[in-house]
């Protein structure tokens, strides 16, 4: 990893930050009163994402990766700490969160309105996503009739639709076949080339060279690997 090809050598360049999380703390309540106890998951995690980098977020099961991502996205409130970000954000949750009786096309239409895209822009982006991930033939299929792999493609596609400045992807390629997995990385490389930032959660990193940085969640804190 070198500065010459746009990748930071020792951590992020905070001047170019598009998303900064500082001192994030989060604990879950477990059990019933009076045996109720507090299980801390994040203990002051810091994370900065800069423009045009692809960052991997790794950690053991239960280390708080998905919790941190939900906090970054705004789906979950932290107990302490701040998240600041600029630009639009695209979020791909770990489990496909979809409307079971709507088709792929109908999902793109609905999320296009949510992102505030014009009809033309939404239609163009939809075509590109279908082509890039190869699931156009399921455009009019209801999601409750899709295979797991195609659901994962739609799940990712909705995050990509508005070409957001920051992409937060929670294990996006679980369920992909190898060909789609490669296509996914092509897409990520394209987005990176266009100056977009991508944070990818993974249990383990197999293609380390595809990331600019890898951050590990250990004991509730984010540490550079």
């Amino acid at each position: 990893m070198t500065q010459a090809d746009g990748r930071p050598e020792d951590g992020p360049d905070t001047d170019r930050a598009v998303l900064t999380a500082a001192g994030i703390e989060k604990a879950y309540q477990r059990g019933l009163w009076p045996a109720r106890r507090r299980v801390p998951v994040l203990r002051g995690a810091d994370l900065t994402l800069t423009r045009g980098e692809v960052v991997g977020l790794v950690g053991e099961n239960g280390s708080g990766k998905s919790t941190l991502m939900k906090i970054l996205v705004g789906a979950l409130a932290s107990d302490a700490g701040t998240v600041t970000r600029s630009g639009r954000l695209g979020y791909c949750p770990q489990e496909p969160i979809l409307y079971e009786r709507l088709t792929c096309d109908e999902h793109f239409e609905l999320f296009g309105r949510a992102y505030g895209l014009s009809r033309e822009a939404e239609a163009r982006a939809r075509r590109e996503i279908y082509a890039a991930l190869g699931f156009e033939r399921y455009a009019t299929t209801r999601t409750d009739r899709l295979s797991g792999g195609t659901l994962a493609k739609l799940n990712l596609g909705l995050a990509l639709l508005a070409d957001p400045e920051v992409l937060l992807l929670d294990e996006p390629y679980a369920g992909f076949d190898f060909d789609t997995y490669l296509k996914f990385w092509d897409l990520v490389a394209e987005r990176r080339q266009a100056g977009r930032t991508v944070l990818i959660i993974s249990h383990f990193v197999t293609d380390q060279e595809r990331f600019d940085r890898i951050v590990e969640l250990r004991d509730g804190q984010a540490v550079e690997r």
């Binding site: 705004g74 409130a77 954000l89 979020y91 969160i97 979809l98 709507l102 109908e106 309105r113």
Partner: protein, 496 residues
């Protein structure tokens, strides 16, 4: 260019088709002159009035049939050219007016021929009434012809469909069969026929037979206008809403929400099964005895004796409505909950999403009401139908919101149980006039009390006397709406 010259051109176009002229004259003459006598005899055999009344009605039947045929062929033949006229700059409203005027003139020609033949054959006792009735037939059938013209492209199929509708209307209508069969009351010229042949229906309510006949004419004209307008619609540059605005997001959300609801097969099965089970089975097992109800009349609580089989269907309908509406509210919110959260994260405003979800619940509640009342109407007649329907809608909306609220609290399985239990305990047991002459005091605090009292008032008394109960019901509706809004905001909330 005004509408009149255009209509004249259309008429010239029609006149230059010899078959048209032949049909317009020949069919009514043959029908009135040849078929009216045998039809009158057949009507007498089938339980209808028979005699001159049926022969009078034949003028209307002939005019109606020709009006539908004329309008059908206008719609089929001129559609593309009409669109071209609009593209050339003609105002669509003028074109529609011209098309309808042309159809009317053709229908008038057929009506005149039929009436002249009738005058020559049997004479006309009340010319004003018969002419007006024949004209109403023609106007209603113009709309039927226009509608079939839009739906059926093949002329043979189109003619078959026109004939089929006409046969149903005529042979099951009050001039040939009995005027009392409830199912035939929905036929398009039921009331027109009764008024025209001076056979009072006894089931027209305050509006009267003429009122209903005119209502049909007005509705048919509106449908005809809408249908013709739809066929000549051209692609205009669309007014674009700002991406991400309320006008952009709410319709998209509603489309998606209604698609989801429409694809829920269980919902459709329940819409049929619940009213049948709750209303028809209950009525079928009702004992032949009377019971007393406490109702309010002119400010006083009175005990009224009612015959159980007469009112049981009307008291079971709200249970079906409340159960269906609760399930609709429950499933609408639960099915969409996690997707809605993601949609809000993507930028859909929570308040707009709430509007979408509550609109879907409202529409489903109305559908549940319509399905239940359609079944109920076959076994029960309310003293005040309008108020009875309004009270049923209030129950549906109230319990639709209850469904919205119990979903996030009890989840799917628990929610379904509660969705049946709560309306059953409230509307089915505590508010039921079959079990208590009036609801126990504690049941006044339940959401079904207000609309339940209004419903009973509408079911068995001739005047509305439950203002307090209505206000209470509306209060519940407002409170539940507020609670649903708070609940929705909490469940769809993000930290942004």
């Amino acid at each position: 260019m005004t509408g009149r010259p255009i209509a004249r051109r259309f008429l010239i176009d029609a006149a230059r088709t010899p078959v048209n002229v032949l049909t317009l004259v020949l069919v009514p003459v043959v029908f009135v002159a040849v078929a009216s006598g045998p039809m009158a005899d057949a009507a007498e055999l089938l339980g209808g009035p028979g005699g001159p009344a049926v022969q009078t009605a034949t003028a209307g039947w002939a005019a109606g049939f020709i009006a539908a045929v004329a309008m059908y062929f206008q719609m089929r033949a001129a559609r593309a050219a009409d669109r071209r006229l609009v593209l050339a700059g003609l105002a669509p409203s003028r074109l529609v007016a011209a098309r309808m005027a042309t159809g009317l003139v053709l229908a008038l020609l057929a009506a005149t021929t039929a009436l002249v033949t009738l005058q020559l054959r049997t004479g006309i006792d009340e010319p004003g009434r018969v002419v007006a009735g024949t004209l109403m037939f023609a106007l209603i059938y113009l709309a039927i012809g226009a509608l079939i013209g839009v739906l059926v492209a093949n002329p043979v199929n189109g003619m078959v469909l026109v004939l089929f509708v006409w046969i149903l209307d005529v042979f099951f209508g009050p001039a040939i069969g009995s005027a009392d069969r409830p199912v035939t009351r929905i036929l398009p010229t039921h009331f027109v026929t009764l008024w025209m042949i001076e056979l009072p229906s006894q089931h027209a309510g305050r509006l009267g037979d003429l009122g209903w006949a005119l209502a049909w004419v007005v509705a048919a004209t509106a449908v005809g206008w809408a249908v013709i307008t739809a066929t000549i619609r051209i692609a205009r540059p669309r007014h674009r809403h700002t991406p991400g605005s309320a006008a952009d997001q709410i319709p998209a959300g509603l489309r998606a929400g209604l698609r989801e609801a429409g694809r829920n097969r269980v919902l459709w099965v329940l819409l049929v099964a619940v009213p049948v089970v709750f209303v028809l089975l209950a009525v079928a097992t009702t004992p032949d005895e009377s019971t007393s109800l406490t109702v309010r009349e002119q400010g006083h609580a009175l005990s009224q004796q009612v015959w159980l089989p007469d009112v049981h269907g009307g008291t079971m309908a709200p249970i079906a409505i409340a159960s269906l509406a609760t399930l609709a509210g429950l499933f609408t919110v639960l099915d969409a909950r996690s997707g809605d959260r993601r949609l809000v994260l993507a930028g859909f405003r929570p308040s707009r999403l709430l509007t979408v979800r509550l609109t879907v619940v409202t529409l489903l509640a109305l559908l549940a009401t319509a399905a239940s009342l359609a079944v109920t109407a076959t076994v029960f007649t309310a003293r005040q139908w309008g108020l009875y329907i309004a009270a049923s809608i209030l129950i549906a909306l109230t319990y639709g919101l209850v469904g919205v609220l119990i979903g996030p609290v009890f989840g799917r399985v628990g929610g379904v149980l509660i969705a049946f239990l709560l309306p059953f305990v409230d509307v089915g047991i505590e508010q039921s006039p079959m079990l208590h002459p009036q609801p126990p005091t504690w049941a006044h605090a339940l959401p079904g009390y207000g609309p339940g009292r209004v419903l009973i008032d509408a079911a068995v008394t001739p005047t509305f006397d439950e203002t307090g109960a209505l206000l209470l019901g509306l209060g519940w509706l407002a409170a539940l709406t507020a609670a649903a809004a708070v609940m929705f905001r909490r469940t769809a909330a993000t930290t942004r």
